[in-house]
């Protein structure tokens, strides 16, 4: 369905509007000049006809006036009959000599206008007008011109010559001129419009190029320079040069930002490493002490339990610190493709946690072959989701894992727990574009979300009857698989 506003000429492209304007202007000029030509042609034809008629009437009057004065039928007819052959250019259809009383003395066509009769009223009226005006009276509908000349001997009228000429050829000539003008001007308008299309497209090519680059830049966020040689004239050259300068400045700013970001990340890594070293070092003393205690007094169940609890907590702290570090920084992405075995390893890794919590693991790994997904990141995503699910599930609950291939390439990881569901703050992590890691839980999900986004995928929560059902879509990377900086 055509939108109505698309019919508004103001919304039409310049490449259409300008040629149309050119065509309309050409047609307007052609119409004006055509009118002038036709008007001049009509005047010339009428002047020519009038001159021809005057010469015709002069010659005929000389020949028939004595006959009219004597009312000599034969002499009048003879003069008319001879004149018909001599004035072919006038194309007389009929002509007659009238007596002063209006009756026909003789006509060149006696069978249609016999002597002694009167002319038809319409023809007689036209003859009266022509005689009074001294020039032909034209009847365009009938394609005739009526001529008339009064004959007199001194002040005494002796008759009148009346002729009816065929002006069909004159009118046909006008129609032919009109046809020629219409065809020629139409052709000119089309030619100029076509030339206008090409010219305008040629003139607008640089501007159109900049427009396309702007559209692309708006989509990609990265302006691409253009070839300045396509510019026409100083205006377009300046436009293209300005665009290229803007693109260069943007690229320079982007490079600078990337460099600053890299430096900042390195600085953060340094601080994180220092903090991790500090955090790991903190419990180390206690842990070593606990190990010593176990070594010396391991037989005492109370002491042993206390030392083991200390060890568990200290190692837990270290594990948390390491997890935070992993979530903060990742090294160069693996270029190894993901295989089913990679997920099956995770089953072993989580087996202890699952057993410790008394959970049942429903494991379905449907990956059949390799998919072009970073295996390290994919394993980390799946492991985070599994550990989160294990943590969220109540004892004796069922933890479900399913891996399959993503339609269009990639992998899908689906983890379902038996927990009470995601808290709103944690679920918001699924939709937050950026942000710091949560301070009160949800670090694993935050990490998984960022890892999945780095792969170009997403994590969504689907409805479930038993708890939280999270699905991570890990699309395949374009081949060859690019290195990915996770964070």
């Amino acid at each position: 369905m055509i939108r109505l506003d698309a019919l508004d000429p103001r919304r039409w492209p310049l490449a259409v509007r300008v040629p149309l304007i050119v065509a309309v202007l050409v047609a307007g000029v052609a119409l004006a000049t055509g009118q002038a030509v036709l008007s001049r042609l009509a005047r010339d034809q009428e002047r020519h006809l009038s001159e021809l008629a005057s010469a015709f009437l002069d010659g005929l009057a000389t020949a028939v006036q004595p006959a009219a004065a004597r009312a000599d039928i034969w002499e009048a007819f003879d003069a008319l009959d001879r004149a018909r052959a001599r004035y072919g250019a006038l194309r007389p259809m009929l002509f007659a000599v009238l007596l002063p009383d209006g009756t026909v003395l003789a006509s060149a066509e006696p069978r249609s206008i016999p002597s002694g009769t009167r002319l038809a009223a319409a023809l007689a009226a036209q003859a009266d007008a022509a005689a009074a005006a001294g020039r032909p009276v034209l009847d365009a509908d009938a394609a005739t011109a009526v001529l008339a000349r009064d004959l007199a001997e001194g002040d005494v009228p002796v008759g009148r010559i009346v002729a009816q000429a065929d002006i069909g050829p004159l009118l046909a000539e006008r129609r032919a001129v009109v046809r020629t003008l219409v065809l020629a001007n139409g052709a000119f308008a089309l030619v100029f419009a076509a030339a206008g299309v090409l010219l305008v497209r040629h003139l607008l090519a640089p501007a159109d190029l900049v427009r396309r680059r702007l559209t692309e830049a708006a989509r990609s966020g990265r302006p691409v320079p253009v070839d300045e040689t396509v510019g026409i004239g100083p205006e377009h050259a300046a436009l293209l040069a300005a665009w290229n300068q803007a693109a260069a400045a943007s690229a320079e700013r982007e490079a600078m930002a990337a460099r600053l970001a890299k430096e900042e990340r390195h600085a953060q890594v340094g601080r994180l490493a220092a903090a991790m070293a500090h955090e790991v070092n903190n419990p180390l003393g206690g842990l070593i002490t606990a190990v010593d205690t176990l070594s010396d007094h391991g037989d005492d169940p109370e002491v042993r339990a206390e030392a083991l609890g200390l060890l568990r907590r200290g190692l837990g702290d270290i594990r948390n610190v390491v997890r935070a570090g992993l979530a903060t920084w990742r090294g160069a992405a693996s270029t190894v493709a993901l295989a089913a075995q990679d997920f099956d390893d995770l089953r072993l890794l989580v087996r202890h946690e699952v057993a410790r919590r008394g959970l049942t693991l429903d494991w379905r790994n449907e990956l059949s072959g390799e998919v072009a997904v970073d295996r390290t990141l994919a394993r980390q995503v799946a492991l985070n989701l599994l550990l989160n699910a294990a943590t969220a599930s109540p004892p004796h609950g069922t933890l479900r894992f399913r891996a399959s291939e993503l339609h269009g390439g990639g992998a899908v990881v689906e983890v379902t727990d038996a927990g009470p569901g995601l808290p709103p703050a944690v679920e918001a992590l699924l939709h937050a574009r950026d942000g710091p890691p949560p301070e009160d839980g949800g670090l694993g999900l935050w990490t998984a979300v960022r890892l999945v986004r780095s792969l170009g995928g997403r994590i969504v929560r689907l409805p479930s009857d038993t708890g939280t059902r999270l699905v991570a879509e890990l699309p395949a990377a374009p081949a060859p698989m690019e290195a990915v900086h996770a964070l």
Partner: protein, 282 residues
């Protein structure tokens, strides 16, 4: 047929007997529409033939009406003239016959009453109320015969016909009737036949309604007082021997005539009788 070298011998002898014709005084020969005087090529050939036969210039004189030519002839302004039998009988006391044409072997011709071919008429009586074209008031075939027919009915042309007029030439009468200017016309039968033969388009629109009696063919006449003059004798001899020369035969062929012969005034008695009857009835 005589040998070509004999051409004009009699004419030359006649001229020599009468004395030389002065080179600066052309023979003046008057013509009327009793024949196809509108054929300029014919006139040129006739003039050349007569000049060759006479050995002197010949001036062919044409006028619009019979009356003008007859008046010039009677006034001595012409040496001879080809006139109609009607003016001849009217001025027979002053005119002499030099030669009479032979048409189809006889010095006779008829008057034709013609009409528009589209009219359903079979006699002069059917032409009452129709327009009519006469040739000339001094023409036997083009006026007198019809006038005589009407007088026998106690009619006059202007009362019997609707707007009768004179076309001053038999060929003009044919044109008038053919074009529809007149419904009917009185015309020389010889002219109608010749035009029908040479220009059938002119007579195509006409139809012969009635033929008259045979009358003496329009003669070549001169003043009786000039009958023995060199010009008249030379002309008479040239005409009488016309068929004996190639140029004369060419002229005769064009005229559709067989030649010229001498004739007696009695040849025109029928015309004189009609003229007398018409005069008596009016």
């Amino acid at each position: 047929m005589k040998a070509p070298w004999l051409i004009g011998r009699r004419a030359l002898l006649a001229t020599a007997a009468a004395g030389p014709v002065h080179a600066a005084a052309p023979v003046r020969f008057g013509l009327t529409p009793v024949f196809l005087d509108s054929d300029l090529a014919l006139l040129r050939d006739l003039g050349r033939h007569l000049e060759a036969a006479l050995g002197s210039p010949v001036q062919l004189v044409k006028r619009r009406t019979y009356q003008e030519i007859v008046a010039m002839l009677l006034a001595g302004q012409l040496d001879a003239a080809w006139i109609c039998g009607f003016p001849y009988v009217r001025h027979a006391d002053r005119l002499s016959l030099l030669a009479v044409p032979l048409h189809r072997g006889r010095p006779l011709y008829q008057s034709y009453l013609i009409a528009d071919a589209s009219l359903d008429v079979s006699s002069i009586d059917d032409l009452r109320g129709h327009s009519h074209a006469f040739s000339d008031p001094d023409s036997n075939s083009g006026f007198l015969v019809t006038r005589w027919l009407l007088s026998a009915r106690h009619e006059r042309p202007e009362g019997f016909f609707n707007r009768p007029f004179f076309a001053y030439g038999h060929r003009n009468v044919l044109r008038a009737v053919g074009a529809g200017l007149a419904d009917s016309g009185s015309v020389d039968g010889y002219v109608w036949e010749t035009v029908a033969d040479r220009e059938p388009a002119v007579t195509a629109g006409t139809r012969v309604v009635a033929h008259s009696e045979w009358h003496g063919f329009p003669p070549i006449c001169c003043l009786s007082e000039s009958r023995d003059g060199p010009a008249a004798r030379g002309l008479a001899a040239a005409l009488l021997e016309m068929r004996e020369s190639e140029s004369g035969q060419r002229v005769l062929e064009t005229l559709r005539l067989d030649g010229f012969v001498s004739a007696e005034p009695a040849l025109y008695d029928s015309i004189a009788r009609m003229a007398a009857e018409v005069g008596a009835r009016t």
